[in-house]
Symmetry: C2
Subunit: 303 residues, 2 copies
């Protein structure tokens, strides 16, 4: 494996947390995912931006050797999300979503992207996720994310997507909503019956649960006391997770998913320490490996 | 070490969960703790019951060789708690607390109990917790639990208790309340500055966080899909945790706390699978060890 395609948003975010506020800062699932995954593998992005998208923001990805030839620039304004977090920082309250150029977006894959070995369909309209899957040729791993908005408004299309996935990554609350169960353990198993062979439930500060071939794997988050802004943590996790899978060039086994989840967890722990992509844009693998040594003390025990 | 003293409640509970309802079933922190700890070490209980306390309920502990000579039987009714859980089963809503014989309770330790090596002050009035500490002679480990009610109504006494503890076990929400912080990571560190050298934060279905000598340890819960009734899970955890510490007869190190937390976690995972003490009253160490082998697959990863 190696080449990873992500289709997702490039955005400007306005975010308020108990620590502070940013206005019009760089965000979007494709940016968080791309920066994280590019630490491990070669990454291509498909998405759309408006005329206001700053040149320095495009360079964030291109400087990390991410192929941005699939990012269209069209007339209009870039997608804009505004949200805020309360004291516990566990859930974002969306204040405003301005789709702008995203409203008429239909992903068009450059020819060379169609042979990507790993495809990540970030949290976008399931109709667009299907359009991407109809363009790629036999990827080895197809993974996706989704959210409550699509579960509530486009469930039929979403169920079609699920049938075509190897891996679904989804927030705990949304997994429970999708499956009408009462906890992540039941939800993960139920989702695996809807299509995805492997299910990753994201629990924010509590870490993740993976369900794969009748086995559970539970991993706590790396302990961060001073969380500044959790925006992008899930997409950063996905980038580290799939990036490591791409780098490994191995078939999906539970052991591979476990190690990949450790890297996803570590990368996400950096993201939440600052606003926007500030804490990961210059991150090196050495810094990740340092934190991995700490993490081992935090989550392992004498057996 | 070996001999463990617990001072806590013996109660009749009325509990409603999405799965069903029990009325007047056996409960109380000392019962859950005593059954769990007695798998590993010798246990003595100090508490009070009313005339309505059934002989078969006293036998639950005595059959497990728990010394119940410190349980007073007095005129009146046994402590009664009524609560219910909503769909997520994460938080009990207390419907009614009838203190009954507990209202005038003052713990009196039989002479032989005063030399207990490990003391667990379950979630009772901090004034009573101090009365216990004033009676014991140089225990090696003093641990306690508390709750929002005491944080809000008896903070001065509670702070005195904290200064005399080796270990505080506390629910996440209550740890955050006590420290006025925003998450378990900050709260654990802050509590350690208030006295307890080791802090165990209980996160329900998300497991636990331990903070000890500037190190964190995070352990997920054992994955249980069909949670029937979480009542007593925290006291069962404490019983397995301190029981294992008693059995080990070693000074408190982070590695010992880690292994003890694994046993506490496993025992608590049985408790939540049925109402009252039904799932743990006949539990054997073999069953715990079987589940420990499963748990290892769930929480360990290639390093």
């Amino acid at each position: 494996m190696g080449n990873i395609l992500v289709v997702g948003s490039l955005a400007y975010d306005t975010v308020k947390t108990p620590t502070g506020k940013i206005d019009g800062a760089l965000g979007g699932s494709a940016n968080y995912f791309g920066v994280a995954a590019s630490l491990f593998a070669s990454v291509s992005v498909v998405g759309v931006v408006g005329e206001d998208y700053r040149a320095e923001d495009s360079e964030l990805l291109s400087k990390r050797n991410v192929d941005i030839s699939g990012i269209e620039k069209v007339a209009g304004k870039t997608f804009h999300w505004a949200g805020e977090y309360d004291g516990s920082l566990n859930e974002a309250k969306t204040l405003r979503t301005e789709l702008n150029v995203f409203a008429d977006f239909h992903p068009k894959l450059p020819e060379s992207f169609k042979k990507s070995e790993i495809v990540f369909l970030a949290n976008i309209d399931p109709v667009l996720q299907i359009e991407v899957l109809d363009q790629v040729q036999r990827p080895k791993v197809v993974a996706a994310d989704t959210m409550n908005f699509w579960i509530e408004s486009k469930i039929t299309d979403l169920l079609k997507v699920l049938k075509r996935l190897d891996i679904l990554l989804i927030n705990e609350g949304e997994a429970i909503l999708l499956t009408e169960t009462s906890n992540a353990i039941l939800a993960a198993k139920r989702i695996s019956e809807m299509g995805p062979k492997h299910v990753v439930i994201k629990r924010g500060e509590y870490g993740i649960v993976i369900y794969s071939h009748d086995q559970y794997f539970c991993l706590p988050a790396y302990p961060i006391g001073n969380v500044v802004d959790p925006t992008g943590a899930g997409d950063t996790f996905a980038g580290g997770f799939l990036g490591y899978i791409g780098k490994s060039n191995q078939p999906l086994s539970l052991d591979l998913l476990k190690t990949a989840a450790v890297y996803g967890t570590l990368l996400a722990s950096f993201t939440v320490q600052d606003f926007s992509l500030n804490a990961i844009k210059d991150l090196t693998l050495d810094q990740v490996e340092d934190r991995r040594r700490d993490f081992r003390q935090v989550v392992t025990f004498p057996t």
